[in-house]
């Protein structure tokens, strides 16, 4: 059984590494610039004729527009988060194996499971910290410029963070066997395929094609990122938009930036099982690897 003390040592080391390597600083600076730029954009939304003037749109209409623009901005954030999660996860174990560093650490009274779980915990901390920090800041800026607050801000941040956690976990698994670059490319490709899979599934339900629907469901089970993204979208949609989409019926189902329902509890339960399986597989894979 893994013990807590060495596990926490590895978690702290992982966060320490990210901060020392200026990765965190670079991402934070970039994020702040993007948030500032979107703040200016949201501020200009209130003028019907675009930046610099024209009559102001009504408050209700402004919030409705803001809610839709926010979905696209958050999609951009989640894509950056996906990239970051994969880039920190993929070299995490393979890099230490290549430099023989792992030999020096595993020759101490620690288990390989403590190293893997510690690294996962540290990386998960980074992903959650970034999602929460950037998310809260962006929501404050949107509220301040347009007065719009999405219906479920906490849910939004939790779903966005989960997308990052899924990708980081997958890249960590691949990192036990593959070189950093390969372990990064595969989860990213899978992320985009799952996104497309979600759209295909949506189109399937719009036109009533069972084959497409099944494709959507399978892709969602293999990599739950798109299902979680839909959860984030649902958390951002005002009641009026949800009502309008429901009224449109199945025709709206293919829209990757829309969601008519919150993720179903069985899907969330599956996501928990997915994490357990992939982390379990990571522990097994690293233990079996001859370092």
């Amino acid at each position: 059984m893994p013990e807590l003390a060495p596990l926490l040592t590895f978690a702290r080391l992982t966060i320490w590494e990210a901060s020392r390597r200026r990765l965190l600083v670079a991402v934070l600076v970039l994020t702040l610039i993007v948030i500032a730029a979107t703040g200016w954009g949201f501020h200009e939304l209130r003028y019907a004729n675009g930046p610099g003037g024209g009559p102001e749109v009504g408050e209700v209409q402004l919030r409705l527009i803001a809610s839709q623009v926010l979905i696209f901005i958050v999609f951009l954030f989640s894509a950056v988060l996906a990239l970051m999660s994969v880039l920190v996860g993929a070299p995490s174990i393979s890099g230490d194996v290549e430099s023989n560093l792992v030999l020096a650490m595993l020759a101490r009274p620690v288990r390989s499971s403590e190293l893997v779980l510690g690294k996962w915990l540290g990386l998960a901390g980074l992903v959650v910290l970034y999602s929460a920090g950037a998310g809260i800041l962006e929501l404050i800026v949107v509220d301040w410029t347009t007065g719009y607050v999405p219906p479920s801000p906490v849910g939004l941040i939790a779903y966005v963070a989960s997308v990052g956690l899924v990708l980081m976990t997958l890249s960590l698994l691949l990192s036990t066997r593959l070189a950093g670059m390969t372990a990064a490319i595969i989860p990213l490709a899978a992320y985009f395929m799952a996104w497309v899979g979600g759209i295909i599934g949506g189109i399937g339900s719009a036109i009533g094609n069972q084959g497409l629907i099944t494709t959507g469901v399978v892709s969602k089970l293999l990599l739950p990122t798109d299902g979680l993204w839909r959860g984030a979208v649902y958390a951002m949609e005002p009641a009026s938009v949800v009502a309008a989409m429901r009224a449109a019926g199945t025709a709206a189902a293919g829209n990757p930036f829309g969601a008519t329902d919150a993720p179903a509890p069985p899907f969330l339960a599956w996501t928990a099982v997915w994490f357990t399986l992939v982390i379990g597989l990571t522990l097994w894979s690293f233990r079996r690897r001859e370092v």
Binding site: A5, P6, T9, L13, E17, R20, R21, S99, N100, L101, L103, A104, M105, L106, A107, R108, P109, V110, R111, E290, V291
Partner: protein, 324 residues
């Protein structure tokens, strides 16, 4: 009730003392037919050896002979596919044993984004040393490897030799009972090599067993008490340096003797004469001074005396001879 408890404690204490005594009496390393295959490749074929406590043991062989595999097996980093072994009296692969063992891996890099002192503190933590001892312990090992003034610098700025010294310092943390050094001098310049030898001498004085992997024969010859020679995953010879090298040859450079006088030296053993040098074989080390005295008595002038003139290299090549 109380009496029972005291008795239990006494019994417990006796058992623990007995266990400690057994552990102390056990060799640093003992293994029987330890082997490792990777698929069809045999990395180590039946390693059988015993390394006594407090000795510097040289594990000598060409690159690819299975030396690093042996160390990884002994440290429990990989599992054997055959045979068994004990380190410090405990079966291979026990996590707790690693508290008493130090290890310098071959060709490794420490986290370049850490400072030297931070690497050491990290390993103090991983080795589960009491926190109160960290400062003293890191200062001690830094002093030992001559890195005290660079502890605050980032590892990124270290030269290869300094990285190796840092690795050595990490291996010495917590005064382990057994230290594995995998090719410790291969990246070092002559001064660095000298320093490593000094550290190994220091360890021997402190009673620490050292398992030294090396393909550098002269290195092993200079520091090791006992040597095992490996080739293609097998031990081809093992013993003390004297045992391995015969210990019974003396090379002497002498002038001023005529042919008859030179031949008379064969009274000490089988002698070979190549003009300047005379090699006397089968000569006990204790009789070397007598040989020199005899040369002087005969009117010869002695320029050099090399007891045990056969080098480890000669012996090694001789042993490999059949297969290479």
């Amino acid at each position: 009730m109380i009496r029972t408890s005291i008795r239990e404690q006494v019994v417990d204490l006796q058992e623990r003392q007995a266990a400690a005594a057994t552990a102390a009496a056990s060799p640093a390393i003992h293994c029987v037919e330890l082997s490792k295959r990777y698929g069809r490749t045999v990395a180590l074929a039946g390693l059988t050896m015993t390394v006594p406590r407090g000795e510097v043991f040289g594990f000598l062989g060409p690159n690819g002979a299975g030396k690093t595999t042996a160390v990884k097996l002994l440290l429990g980093l990989v599992s054997p596919t055959g045979g068994e072994g004990w380190v410090l009296g405990r079966p291979l692969g026990e996590v707790a044993t690693r508290r008493r063992v130090g290890y310098l891996p071959e060709l490794f890099r420490y986290q370049p984004w850490l400072r030297g002192g931070e690497v050491l503190r990290l390993h103090c933590e991983l080795a589960r040393l009491p926190r109160a001892t960290w400062r003293e312990e890191t200062a001690r090992v830094l002093e030992l490897v001559g890195l005290s003034d660079r502890a605050r610098d980032s590892v990124r700025t270290y030269s290869k030799g300094m990285q190796q010294r840092l690795g050595l310092a990490v291996a010495l943390l917590g005064s382990p009972e057994l230290v594995f050094l995998d090719e410790p001098t291969s990246a070092l310049d002559p001064v660095g090599r000298y320093d490593v030898r000094q550290v190994i001498h220091h360890l021997r004085e402190a009673g620490t067993a050292v398992f030294l992997n090396s393909h550098l024969l002269t290195e092993v010859e200079m520091v090791c008490d006992r040597v095992a020679m490996v080739d293609r995953g097998r031990v081809i010879a093992t013993g003390t340096l004297d045992e391995l090298l015969g210990g019974q040859a003396c090379r002497i450079r002498v002038t001023g003797l005529d042919v008859r006088q030179r031949q008379s030296l064969s009274a000490f053993g089988h002698s070979e004469d190549d003009g300047e040098w005379i090699v006397v074989r089968g000569l006990d080390a204790e009789r070397v001074p007598d040989l020199v005295a005899e040369v002087v008595r005969l009117g010869g002038r002695v320029y050099a005396v090399e007891p045990r003139h056969q080098t480890l290299e000669d012996r090694f090549l001789e042993l490999l001879g059949g297969g290479h």
